[in-house]
Subunit: 133 residues, 2 copies
């Protein structure tokens, strides 16, 4: 596990936006599937590196968002990567179950096809099971 | 190619931020490598869908950024995807050459290892060749 000194050094390399956040893309480490994009503040980055369990910052709730806390759909960190200008993170993870609140593996399930916006995948899990009826 | 009506419909499904932007992750369509993350405004999305060549919005320059215009490192769009809440795009692309201005294939080349932030890859192309000396 990354130590506190290393975390401090990593945080110093990040360029947070005016709201103190950086976007974090999560990708399934072995298949390469892009699962979701969410935001992290410094505390979320530090907690993710310290625990190995991915923690975001919920902009709507204004609180740390330990992915899977309600749904059980935890993301385990395999590696955190930082981009060239330090303002975006890529978390290589193992996604337990599904990443998307709709019950789909990935949040990126819609695409234009001709005149329509089609759904490329169907839910694998009933959201009612994930979050209660 | 997506028609104008389809583009209008796609744009209507997007939730742009207060600055009129959405983040767009680009991923090499066949290998799954995450290349970069940049921003698009409505014009950039429309141009990308119309031309099949990825166009971002440069926040630093305040102008459309036709990826590869200076460097030749063009991204050809294979498929545009939209996430569940409509505020993030995933562009599956073919990246000609390298995505990163450092000459690396992907911008996500740094990762914490113990106490250090290490570089996982080396430049494939000299940035001087891409952008002039």
């Amino acid at each position: 596990m990354t130590t506190t000194d290393a975390t401090t050094r990593f945080l110093a390399a990040l360029r947070f936006d005016a709201a103190g956040l950086v976007p974090c893309i999560s990708q399934q480490h072995d298949t390469g599937e892009v699962l979701m994009m969410a935001w992290m503040n410094a505390d979320a980055v530090a907690e993710t590196l310290a625990t190995g369990r991915v923690c975001y910052w919920s902009r709507s709730r204004g609180a740390l968002w330990r992915k899977g806390e309600s749904s059980g759909q935890v993301q385990r960190l395999h590696e955190m990567r930082l981009d060239c200008d330090g303002d975006t993170l890529l978390a290589l993870v193992h996604q337990h179950g599904v990443a998307c609140h709709t019950g789909r593996r990935s949040c990126f399930y819609r695409a234009p096809r001709g005149e329509s916006l089609v759904e490329l995948t169907q839910p694998e899990t009933d959201p009612k099971v994930l979050y209660g009826a």
